[in-house]
Amino acid sequence: MTIGTSPPDTAATAMRRTSGGLASVLRLRELPVTLALIALVALTYLANPLFLGQQGMKDLLLNATIVIILAVGQAMVIITRNVDLSVGSILGIVAFSTGTLFVAVPGIPIVLIFLAGMALGALLGSVNGFLVTVAKVPSLVITLGTLYIYRGLNNAWAGGTQYFAGDRPDSFGALSVDTIAGFPLITLIAIVVVIIVAIFMASTRPGRDLYAIGSDPEAAKLFGIPVIRRVLLAFLSNGVLAGLAGVLYASRFNSVGATTGTGLEFDIIAAAVVGGVAIFGGSGTVVGAAIGALLLTTITSALAAIRVDKFWQQAIVGLLILAAIVIDRITRIRTAKKLRRSEARDV
């Protein structure tokens, strides 16, 4: 910037313009998925008003709850330019252990059940994080391995044993039935999770570090960010959330056994990507991921409510993923252009 030739506020104006650009970029990332959700709900409601009836709303929220929690955890990992494919298996093993605990320790306090489930999730998640950071093998491969290992452990442990809703206390099942102001209790838990993680990611040092690592791991390291510790933290948090989701699964559904949660991982990654979390890391928000989760679970219910063959659902989810990637691409190009322009103005 040259001195004296330009008015003193040019730099500030440029800065403001850049940050305004960034803000619109951020808005752009979540905007499509939010609009899609609103359009979907509105159109389905017009076709079948029962869709937004009291029971209908409750079902929509309940269906989304577990996926939202998992998508928030997955978003943290993806933002660091990693991925955790083992979440379905972690959920399964925690859900089964929840069923086991209730039978093995009659009268166990529900708080302890939650703590135990989240602790087991944390353990399994940190194994992933440890292998990824220490072995330095891509997380895609590591967590593909732990996906099978955790599932294998679950199979070996559970065998043909299943625990049913009847084996668990009514007050535990009631978490997924009772509502406060129309919101089921477990949905409120999910909302609290989204708020806490969103604040952590947006305005704490470790949270911002996760974005820095995902944007450019080498630069983050040179800058002095404890990359290994932060990536471990992301995997551990994801494990805790998958554990929480496992406990809630046991509350909501009838049976937990060897195959609980199989194949869930791709729904979760899809939810995060559709919600604007870039698969290459460094951008996106957990709020976006949560909205993505709500959108995907709502599509299933909407198609069922307007009697569309459910086989179409998968194709629609696929289209949404492609749309999310195209939007990501356009955003990147626009951001790059804007940055170049504002830099040019500053010279």
């Binding site: 079902d59 330019r81 991925v83 990824v132 891509p138 099978y148 559904f253 219910s301 009697r307 459910k310």
Partner: protein, 354 residues
């Protein structure tokens, strides 16, 4: 770190792909090892030297465990020297083929299979037969060309009739009903559904009942749950649901019991007493049906023995001894019937433990 190989140079991408392939290959080897290393039956028909292997639709399924428990009892009582259970963890069409191949190589004398797909297992079973194995289908039939006999729980039509009868009683003989099934290509499900539809069309007692939808929950708790929700939203006048699958009926019962629809929408179908007990007690479900799954495995084992000994060939009219259950006769199309279905309700459900 992840997925970035897409953006890297080709060599690095290739190397990572190879790592991935290596992991996948070792997983496959481990899985294959389990299947291949399990028995050393000789395949000759000498008495006391016979081996039998059960290949269920999937392992770790509670219903299947009861069937297999009966099968092992039958195999022991029938005098088989070796009894094995192998099978996939996932009930998909092609997943059973590698297990059949392994049994062929091991020279197993009798293969008892519940087919996930009637035709997908065909070529593998033909190879097994060419190598001298006898094929007994149970639970879910293969195409009749590929097996010697099929052990059916009950007469398929009886299963269909009892379900529609139970539901008709519960909804007072008129109104809209729906079916929540397992997978869209499950042989046994589709046969029952076909008989239910025929009965609805032909029996004047059911003239006021209309079947408005058939949906598929893929024997997955979560999917069945959402399909049940969808049914109730899409058809506000729905009076009842038939779910001829243990996973589907339990998931639907769980949904009904936790929603506003409890008590207003009837539910029946085929369920396991242990799984359905709370829903019968809390009034969500009045009555449902099933057979004794253990007997199915038991008869299958004895049929396998009679085939391997040459006592029967699977032709219509052949009879064989089924241990404690007495004699069984091979009917048309090589089908052997185990027994009539049982109805479970609040009065008798505590007498059963499976």
């Amino acid at each position: 770190m992840t997925m970035q190989f897409i953006r890297h140079t080709k060599t690095r991408g290739t190397r990572r792909f190879l790592t991935l392939a290596a992991v996948a290959a070792s997983v496959a080897l481990v899985a294959g090892g389990c299947a291949a290393g399990n028995d050393a039956g000789t395949g000759t028909a000498a008495e006391g030297d016979l081996s039998i292997t059960f290949i269920p639709k999937q392992l770790n399924n509670p219903y299947t465990d009861v069937v297999l428990g009966g099968g092992k009892d039958g195999a022991t009582a029938g005098g088989f020297a070796a009894t094995e259970v192998v099978g996939p963890l996932e009930a998909s069409a092609s997943s059973q083929v590698s297990f059949i191949n392994a049994e062929t190589q091991a020279g197993t004398s009798v293969i008892v299979i519940a087919a996930n797909d009637p035709d997908a297992v065909g070529p593998a079973l033909e190879e097994a037969r060419a190598a001298g194995a006898k094929i007994v289908a149970f639970d879910s039939d293969t195409n009749p060309d590929y097996r010697d006999v099929f052990i059916s729980q009950v007469v398929a039509k009886d299963v269909a009739l009892i379900q529609i009868k139970l539901l008709a009683e519960q909804i007072g003989g008129s109104g809209e009903i729906a079916i929540l099934s397992a997978t869209a290509n499950a042989t046994n499900q589709n046969e029952w559904i076909k008989f239910i539809e025929e009965e609805l069309a032909s029996n004047p007692e059911y003239a006021e009942i209309s079947l408005v939808a058939k949906v598929y929950g893929d024997d997955d708790d979560t999917k069945s749950f959402q399909e049940a929700q969808g049914l109730l939203q899409a058809y506000p006048n729905l009076k009842g649901i038939i779910s001829p699958t243990t996973v589907g009926i339990a998931a639907t019962a769980r949904y009904l019991s936790t929603s506003n629809y409890k008590g207003t929408v009837a539910l029946t179908g085929l369920g396991l007493p242990n799984e359905m007990r709370p829903f019968v007690k809390d009034g969500t479900v009045t009555a449902f049906a099933l057979w004794d799954p253990a007997q199915l495995g038991y008869v299958a084992a004895f049929a396998g023995k009679a085939l391997a000994n040459g006592t029967i060939t699977g032709a219509e009219g052949d009879t064989f001894d089924a241990g404690d259950l007495g004699k069984r006769e091979v009917g048309a199309d090589g089908i052997v019937i185990v027994g009539p279905p049982t109805t479970f309700n609040a009065d008798n459900i505590d007498d059963y433990d499976f």
